[in-house]
C-alpha cells in the first residue's frame, strides 16, 4: 500500500491528501441531504437540518470512525463526527516515525485529556500557533454524561478559528461531534446546524 502511495506522489498526479494527511488518494465531496443519515463507521446517526457536503475519501488513508463535512469549504468551516474511536487510536492516521504526533486516545481518558488531545491535533496537524480553551464543562451527550469544549485557535494562515466539541466516552470508545470554523462569521453561521445535529445524535446499537 505504501509503495502505491509513493507512486502516486512520484507521478505528480493531482492527488489530494486525505484528511489524515499521511495517506494519499483521490477524494471528493458528496451531497448530504437534509434527513437522517449515519456517519463515520455507521454507528452514529444524526439528522442534517439542511444539505451539507461530505468529504469522501475514495482511496485509503483515513480513519473509518471519523467523517468530515463542510458547508463552505474546509478552510472556512467543518463538522467532524467521531464514531467510537477505540483505545490506542488517534483521530488522524499518522506515520509512526513522524516526530510530532497527535496523541492517541485512551479509553480511561477524562474530559481534560480529550481536550488536550484535540489541542495537540490542531497544533501538530492544523498549523495552530495559538490555542485558547474558552471553556470545558459537563454536558449530557448520547444519553450519558459527556463534555463540551469551546476553543479558538490562531493558525499559520493568520486566521482565527473557533471550535466546539461535544463528546462522551461510551464503553471505552470516544463519540464526538466537532465544529471548527473561521471565527468571523462562519462559526456563528454553522453553530445552529451543529447544535441541532448534536441534539439529534443517536448511537446505532448492534
Amino acid at each position: 500500500m505504501r509503495s502505491v502511495a509513493v507512486l502516486v506522489v512520484a507521478l505528480g498526479l493531482s492527488a489530494c491528501s486525505s484528511l489524515g494527511g499521511e495517506g494519499f488518494g483521490y477524494s471528493d465531496y458528496s451531497l448530504v441531504r437534509a434527513k437522517r443519515v449515519s456517519v463515520g463507521d455507521g454507528s452514529l446517526v444524526v439528522t442534517a437540518p439542511q444539505p451539507w457536503n461530505r468529504h469522501r475519501p475514495i482511496w485509503f488513508g483515513d480513519i473509518r470512525q471519523v467523517e468530515d463535512w463542510t458547508q463552505n469549504g474546509a478552510t472556512l468551516d467543518g463538522i467532524s463526527f467521531v464514531t467510537g474511536l477505540k483505545d490506542g487510536k488517534s483521530l488522524v492516521r499518522q506515520r509512526r516515525t513522524a516526530s510530532q504526533q497527535v496523541p492517541i486516545f485512551r479509553s480511561n481518558m477524562t474530559a481534560p485529556e480529550v481536550a488536550a488531545m484535540i489541542e495537540s491535533l490542531y497544533r501538530v496537524r492544523g498549523g495552530s500557533v495559538d490555542f485558547k480553551t474558552l471553556s470545558l464543562q459537563p454536558r449530557p451527550f448520547l444519553n450519558t454524561s459527556g463534555f463540551q469544549l469551546d476553543y479558538e485557535h490562531l493558525d499559520d494562515d493568520e486566521l482565527w478559528r473557533r471550535g466546539r466539541a461535544v463528546g462522551a466516552v461510551i464503553d471505552g470508545k470516544l463519540y464526538m461531534i466537532l465544529l471548527d470554523a473561521a471565527k468571523a462569521h462562519y462559526f456563528d453561521a454553522t453553530l445552529p446546524d451543529f447544535e441541532s445535529m448534536v441534539a439529534s445524535a443517536q448511537v446505532r446499537r448492534g
Binding site: L19, A74, S99, N108, A111, P112, R125, G127, T133
Partner: protein, 407 residues
C-alpha cells in the same frame, strides 16, 4: 479531521522539493574562515544603487510590510525592545539600521532578509539558555546582511544559467512548501521563489558564523557561547529522531548550513582565538531569564503540545541544567502524558507530584496532579488538589468541569 489538516499536509508534501533545491548548494566542506578576515562589506545607512538590488529591495519592502502586520507576531514592547537592543549591540556598522520581529512559531529558527530586517521565531527564545547564546544567533543573522549574502547568492544563481532554470523551478516548489510558516508571510508565489533562492551556500554560512562571533566578542559576550548553540541543536534533533527510531532528520532548514558538527568545531576554534586571557566575560543569564520569564510558560506550552517527546524532553533537561523548578517539572509531566505509552501515566503523575512541591508550580500542575490522583482512586487528595487549582485560577475555563470533579 481538522479543517486545515488537508492544506497543511499538502504543503509539507512539497517540502521534498525544497530539500532538493537546498541540496544543490551543498558542496564539500571548506576550510575554516577566520573571524579576523571577516570585515563588514557595508557601512551604516546602506542603500542599494544597482538595478537588480534596487528591485530586490522593492520586493522585500512588501515582504516586510506583510511581516510587520502579521498577527503571528509577539508585540510585547519589553521583548521587542530587548531584541532591538541586542541587534543594536552585535549588528556592527548596520546596528542602527536593523529591524527585528518576533514571531510566535515554536521552532528553532531565525532569518535575515536582504533589506536588513530579521525574524526571530519564539522557539529560539525557549532554547537559548542565556543572552550570549541569543546574541550569537542574532550576530550570525546580522553577519549575512553585513556580508551582503543575499545579493551575492542571487547573482551567483543567475550566473549558473542551467542550474538556475532547474533550481528556480525546484526552489519555487520549495518556496511554497518550505516555510510551512514562512509561506504565509509571503503569499505570492513569486516572492516565495525569491526567498527560496536565498538559501545560502556553506561558505556563506561559515562567513556569517565568523562575522557573527567576531561581533559577539567585540560586544563583550563570551565567544564560546556560540558553539554551544549547535551542540544543543544537534542534541535535540538526535533525541527527537531516536524516539521515533530513525536517523537524525535531513532536509531541515539547517541542512544548508555547514554540517552542524563542523560549525561547532569551527566556532570552538574561533572562540579560542577570540577569547582574551584574563578578560571577564558575561553571558547575561539573569538578564535574559528575567526578560523572557513572563513568556516562558507560553514557550514551553507551545513546544510540549507538539508532542515531540524526544525533543521536548531534551529541551527541558537542557534548561534544567540551570536548576529544576515547578514549571519544568510540570512540563516534564506533560511530555509523558501526551506521549501516552504504557507506563507513561504513572510517570506523568510523578512529575506532577514533584512539580506541586515547588512554590512556583503553575496552576495547571495542580489540576493535572488532581486528575492523576483521581485516576489512582485517591479522591480525597484529588479534591484538595482541585481546590488548590480553583483557588489559584478561579476563572479557569474548565472550572465547571473541575468543580464537578471536586464535588
Amino acid at each position: 479531521m481538522c479543517a486545515r489538516c488537508l492544506e497543511v499536509s499538502r504543503r509539507s508534501l512539497m517540502l521534498g522539493g525544497g530539500a532538493v533545491a537546498a541540496a544543490l548548494h551543498t558542496g564539500v566542506a571548506n576550510a575554516r574562515i577566520r573571524p579576523q578576515d571577516m570585515v563588514p562589506l557595508i557601512g551604516p545607512g546602506y542603500r542599494p544603487t544597482e538595478r537588480d538590488e534596487l528591485g530586490l529591495w522593492k520586493e522585500m519592502e512588501r515582504v516586510e510590510e506583510e511581516v510587520a502586520g502579521s498577527n503571528l507576531l509577539i508585540t510585547d514592547p519589553k521583548l521587542t525592545e530587548y531584541l532591538q537592543n541586542l541587534i543594536g549591540t552585535v549588528g556592527g556598522p548596520a546596528a542602527k539600521d536593523f529591524r527585528i520581529y518576533l514571531a510566535r512559531i515554536p521552532e528553532f529558527n531565525a532569518m535575515m532578509f536582504p533589506t536588513g530586517f530579521a525574524v526571530v521565531f519564539s522557539g529560539l527564545l525557549l532554547r537559548m539558555r542565556d543572552e550570549a547564546q541569543l546574541a550569537g544567533v542574532i550576530a550570525h543573522e546580522a553577519g549575512h546582511f553585513l556580508r551582503r549574502h543575499m545579493i551575492r547568492s542571487w547573482r551567483d544563481e543567475k550566473r549558473k544559467t542551467d542550474l538556475f532554470s532547474i533550481g528556480a523551478m525546484l526552489a519555487g516548489v520549495g518556496g511554497a512548501g518550505a516555510g510551512v510558516y514562512l509561506g504565509d508571510y509571503v503569499q505570492l508565489a513569486q516572492l516565495g521563489t525569491i526567498l527560496s533562492l536565498f538559501s545560502y551556500s556553506r561558505e556563506m554560512e561559515a562567513e556569517a558564523d565568523a562575522m557573527g562571533i567576531r561581533s559577539l566578542a567585540q560586544a563583550g559576550y563570551e565567544p564560546m557561547a556560540m558553539s554551544t548553540i549547535w551542540q544543543q541543536l544537534i542534541g535535540e534533533e538526535e533525541a527527537s529522531a531516536r524516539y521515533r527510531g530513525k536517523h537524525r532528520r535531513k532536509g531541515s532548514l539547517f541542512d544548508t548550513h555547514p554540517s552542524e558538527g563542523t560549525r561547532m568545531a569551527d566556532l570552538k576554534a574561533d572562540a579560542l582565538e577570540l577569547t582574551v586571557p584574563g578578560k571577564v566575560y558575561d553571558r547575561h543569564r539573569e538578564r535574559y531569564l528575567s526578560t523572557i520569564g513572563p513568556i516562558r510558560p507560553m514557550l514551553l506550552d507551545d513546544q510540549v503540545k507538539l508532542n515531540d517527546p524526544g525533543a521536548s524532553q531534551y529541551l527541558i533537561e537542557t534548561l534544567a541544567q540551570d536548576g529544576w523548578d515547578g514549571l519544568l517539572r510540570f512540563y516534564e509531566g506533560e511530555v509523558w502524558r501526551l506521549r501516552n505509552r504504557p507506563g507513561d501515566e504513572p510517570r506523568a503523575a510523578q512529575s506532577y507530584a514533584a512539580a506541586v512541591a515547588y512554590p512556583d508550580a503553575p496552576a495547571d500542575a495542580w489540576r493535572w496532579h488532581g486528575i492523576a490522583l483521581m485516576k489512582q482512586g485517591r479522591s480525597g487528595e484529588a479534591k484538595a488538589a482541585f481546590a488548590r487549582y480553583l483557588k489559584m485560577k478561579p476563572d479557569a475555563p474548565d472550572a465547571a468541569w473541575v468543580r464537578q470533579m471536586a464535588g
